[in-house]
Amino acid sequence: MSPSSVLSLSNLDFAYHRALQPVLRNLSLEIPAGAVTAILGPNGGGKTTLLRVMLGVISPQAGAVLLEGRPLRSYSRREVGRRLGLVPQAEHIPFSLSVMEYVLLGRSPYLGMLEMPGEADFRIASEALAELDLLALSDRPVTELSGGEQQMVMLARALTQQSRILLLDEPTSHLDLSNKGRILHVLRSLADRGVTVVFTTHDPEAAIAVAGHLILVREGRTLAGGPLGQVLTPDNLRATYGVPVRIEHLADRPVVLLEAPPR
């Protein structure tokens, strides 16, 4: 494990059931502290499962998960909650909590089993909403938000959690261009403040736009991992997606293009 990595996974094997195909196969990766790391790979490649292993929701059948150098399993649930936040791809919320009530749930790792959020928690939640420019939504029911708004509100809930590591599952997949831009901007500014950001995506563009560190995953294996500039090569992407790609540079930014089949 390199000294600067906050989350280190080594030789993980995981299957949801003995009779089923393994989802992760001898997978190893390192998440560097204070950077934005994109986990890029095709749909169904085990990215969401990987996040669930990082959180400790599921335990791998083999291999080790180290959080800040200690085995993940040696932390209590609340300790993990203060270190790791999650923004899932989508969330079905069956009851119409208001946006503020929902965002306040981010304080639960700091509250005892019988405690309710107080004035200080409310201030932290308000700050998170203000940072994402969502204060106007505070009293709206979460069930009535648009997909983009809901994504932003889930992010506000995770910010309220004040965790040092933030995991996001496909944060840009359902968003229009402007919301996508906002999310990516927030991720970058979080990393500037020292938060370690990890997000999965199947879209190379989102990874290029904001990640400093790139990990390529296919069929439950890591194909490559390291600084974006080194990992983002046509050969690596071809191996990841199974189609020929070309990388061009446009205004100093790499752009991934599919090799067009001959017309």
């Binding site: 649930r77 909650g81 909590l97 639960s108 019988l114 405690e115």
Partner: protein, 332 residues
């Protein structure tokens, strides 16, 4: 920007309404004359005093417990199962308890304590069966598995009850089983209340104190987990409390439907979905609802009307009214 609104006034109003309802209900009944006993009578009439103290007061308190418990348990089940159409009898508890009571009436001694014990035990057996079946199902999420197991176990027990009704002596045993299945508080004494309280009070206290966590548990497992909760364990504690309290009260009161389904909806309508406030609202509304229904059951006709019929009647009417309003936010 202000903190989330606290519905203090709503809760205070409901609390006062509940106390007034309880106070008035002491004088509602069929003695000395239908519907109403003049309060002065309590001083003048020794029999009235005895009747109120040894029958009506424990009955009222049981109705109060029943309403609060079914409503709180309903809200717990709906939020823990993330489904607004679930009710406390859901995990095989009610049907298990009914089967236990029928069994006891038929083959054991039909004395009240034995019936209560059998109903409580079988209510818990119903839940344990549902739980252990759910663990053996190898597909679907935890909620789906419990739902399926609960439906199957309930069906098993209710068919068992059907067989027992078929076998029962139509003159002596069947009416008792039927009346128990329809539910009612006509036979409740201090003794029953003492039997129920040690199970019900701790359960209600646990649910009340953990009510904010219910919001957390109504999110997906992964999200609840990421927020430092152990969703499985916390759900088990809350469900256990809800089921034990429901089983104990079902044992005394018989099968009372609809309260646990409908009252949480009314509470959420009145003060929003945040369980921190919706739960106490539901408990107060449930208390008022059942006490009033029981007043009607006791006073309306010369003979007792089974309470379960009245709660179902009013519950279903309110449910239809809520469903046909466009603003209902129940998304199963």
């Amino acid at each position: 920007m202000s903190p989330p609104k606290r519905p203090t006034r709503l809760l205070a109003t409901l609390a006062v309404a509940l106390l007034v309802t309880l106070g008035l209900s002491v004088f509602i009944g069929r003695y000395p004359s239908p519907y109403w006993m003049p309060p002065g009578r309590l001083q003048a009439d020794e029999l009235a005093r005895q009747l109120v103290w040894s029958l009506r007061v424990p009955r009222l308190l049981t109705a109060l417990m029943l309403g609060m418990t079914l409503s709180a348990a309903g809200m717990v089940m709906q939020m823990v199962f993330r489904n607004p159409l679930v009710e406390p009898g859901f995990l095989g508890v009610t049907h298990g308890a009914a089967f236990g009571a029928a069994l006891c009436i038929l083959w054991l001694r039909p004395n009240p304590v034995a019936i209560e014990l059998a109903a409580t035990v079988f209510g818990l057996v119903g839940m344990l069966l549902s739980y252990s079946f759910a663990r053996r199902i190898h597909f679907g999420g935890w909620v789906l598995r419990l739902v399926l197991a609960g439906i199957a176990v309930s069906a098993l027990f209710s068919s068992g009850t059907g067989i027992l009704k078929y076998l029962a002596d139509p003159l002596t045993q069947l009416p008792e089983i039927t009346f128990w299945l329809l539910g009612g508080l006509w036979s409740v004494t201090w003794h029953d209340l003492v039997f129920v309280l040690p199970l019900v009070l701790p359960a209600l206290v646990v649910i009340y104190l953990m009510r904010w966590r219910l919001n957390l548990l109504s999110l997906s497992d992964d999200t609840a987990f990421s927020l430092g909760s152990a969703p499985g364990r916390e759900r088990a504690v809350l469900l256990g409390a809800a089921v034990v309290a429901t089983a104990a009260l079902t044992a005394v009161c018989g099968v009372i439907g609809w309260v646990g389904l409908i009252v949480p909806h009314i509470a959420r309508r009145a003060c929003g979905s945040n369980a921190q406030y919706a739960l106490p609202t539901a408990m107060l509304v449930g208390g008022i609802f059942v006490v009033v229904c029981d007043d009607l059951a006791r006073a309306l006709l010369p003979g007792e009307i089974p309470l379960g019929i009245l709660t179902a009647l009013f519950g279903a009417a309110i449910f239809i009214a809520l469903l046909t309003r466009a603003t209902l936010r129940a998304r199963p």
